[in-house]
């Protein structure tokens, strides 16, 4: 993902709250990002000002309650302009529904609520299981694979294509776009990927306007909120945002979880031995391996925990850290599948709470069940060194496994 330019620290920020911790970019973060974020609770105040020449400056919180407060008060913390993604000003589009504040937000969200409800996503379960097994078939007999490229990437991309009504033979193309758009370090590759997606989706939107099906892109095209169809830019922004939101996040989440599974045979066995507890297992793994951050912009001056912030300031919830808040989750770094269920922040919260949350939960559940059924014992290949992607989606670059 592209990065915002570094900015000066505003005069109203007290020097004692300014920290340069290399969030998402520094060597200490990249060595073990989740441990790094968990430890912030011991070393940093609940709200501080993060200075980062690469990722940009902003207020950040590591508290579960504060994150929910900001996410649930869009009147103070708007998503407008909070996504530093380069777009052509002459052909601008919004990430829909993320960049739309209430009340207009609901009209877009309602279009896809039935598709992404817990009941709606269950329609995809059979497809997911088949797909997971097809992928495993390709490498199980070799006794080794790179998890990220053989499973973690293609699984969510194929599910996305199916959901959208796009052909599966586009999988490798979409994988390439996703990698270049979200992880390339140069703007040329990202720009080329962007143009490729734009041209392809424009053609698909035209085709599905003529010949609709029952999948998501057609559902968006055929929606008539307030009696009117969405504009071409709205349809594109909606579809493109789903692509951005749903691919890298699940990819990174699966990679983090499988790294942990590979290194913790006893806990892997615990999951296998307690199949009826799968939903709690998925939820707890999502808690400890959350991968994203929620950026907002203040619409007005506000004080939180005695910290004075001003309109126009950037604010980010370090969601993985908030999920390690010891006030809410005692012994937060312990993976405990018997914790009482509480709201986690893996999917943010408030009206912009991830629409794909139940889809992601189901993908993770199916992936765990099918993988562990067929490959119950596995480990990281000897000598492999785990390196993490810098940037706003936290996960390892590669994960070579053997069994």
């Amino acid at each position: 993902m592209a990065t915002a330019p570094a900015a000066e620290v505003p005069a109203h920020v007290p020097p004692e709250l300014v920290y340069e911790i290399g969030l998402t970019t520094g060597p200490e973060f990249l060595a073990a990002p989740h441990a790094f974020m968990a430890k912030l609770h011991e070393t940093h105040p609940p709200i501080f000002y993060s200075v980062n020449p690469i990722a940009g400056n902003s207020w950040v919180t590591i508290k579960h309650a504060d994150a929910f407060f900001t996410l649930r008060h869009p009147e103070y913390f708007t998503t407008a302009g909070a996504t530093p993604f380069p777009r052509d000003p002459n052909n601008y589009f919004f990430f829909i529904p993320l960049e739309i504040d209430p009340p207009h937000h609901r009209k877009y969200r309602a279009i896809l609520d039935p598709t992404f409800s817990p009941q709606g996503v269950l329609k995809l379960e059979g497809y997911m299981r088949g797909l997971a097994n097809d992928l495993i078939d390709d490498f199980i007999d070799k006794g080794e694979t790179d998890f990220t490229t053989a499973f973690g990437r293609p699984l969510p991309v194929s599910i996305f294509l199916d959901l959208m009504g796009l052909p599966q033979d586009m999988r490798d193309t979409f994988v390439g776009w996703a990698v270049n758009l979200l992880h390339s370090q140069d703007r040329t590759s990202a720009g080329l990927a962007m143009r490729g997606i734009e041209a392809y989706l424009a053609q698909v939107i035209a085709e599905k306007t003529m010949t609709p099906d029952d999948r998501v892109i057609s559902t968006i095209i055929q929606a008539r909120p307030d009696g009117e169809p969405l504009t071409e830019r709205e349809i594109f922004g909606f579809t493109f945002f789903l692509f951005i939101a749903g691919l890298d996040t699940v990819f990174a989440t699966l990679n983090n979880m499988w790294l942990w599974l590979a290194n913790n045979p006893d806990r892997r066995q615990e999951i296998i031995d307690n199949p009826d507890n799968i939903d709690a297992q998925v939820e707890e793994l999502l808690r400890v391996f959350s991968v994203t951050f929620s950026g907002r912009t203040l619409t007005q001056d506000i004080e939180m925990r005695g910290v004075q912030m001003k309109a126009g300031d950037k604010f980010s919830s370090i969601l993985p850290a908030c999920n390690y808040d010891p006030e809410v989750f005692p012994n937060p770094t312990t993976v405990d599948f018997s914790r009482p269920r509480k709201p986690i922040l893996a999917f943010a919260g408030g009206v912009h709470s991830c629409i794909g949350a139940h889809l992601a939960r189901l993908e993770i559940k199916v992936a765990l069940q099918e993988w562990l059924r067929r490959i119950p014992d596995f480990s990281v290949a000897p000598g492999a060194k785990t390196e993490y992607w810098p940037g706003g989606v936290v996960g390892p670059k590669a994960l070579p496994l053997i069994w």
Partner: protein, 107 residues
């Protein structure tokens, strides 16, 4: 189909016909009833669709599961014996006439 009466905290009543297989949260969201938020979309992940089942109906609904009981601990408004997460009340014709009271806040 069942006719569901939503009583807001200020006493305002809304009578809504909700389709079988939908749930009480969805009926509120689709009809602009603001006392229910349902931010997670009905998956026992947010506790923002809290409601109080009317006393007359308290014994007539299937009991909540353990996850729902856990999540009710996280509801913002006072928890009562009749507290439920409305996403877990699935509509069938036997619920025709159900009355639910909405709390002062979901946050």
């Amino acid at each position: 189909m069942a006719s569901i009466t939503y009583v807001e905290f200020n006493g305002a009543q809304h009578v809504i016909n909700v389709a079988d297989g939908d749930n009480v949260m969805r009926g509120a969201l689709d009809n602009g009833i603001e006392g229910i938020i349902g931010e997670c979309g009905g998956g026992l992940a947010c506790a923002t669709c809290h409601c109080y089942v009317d006393d007359a109906w308290a014994d007539r609904l299937p009991a909540p599961g353990q996850t729902e009981l856990d999540m009710l601990e996280c509801a913002s408004a006072e928890r009562k014996a009749t507290s439920r997460l409305s996403c877990q009340i699935v509509i069938d014709p036997a619920l025709d006439g159900l009355v639910v009271h909405l709390p002062e806040t979901q946050y």
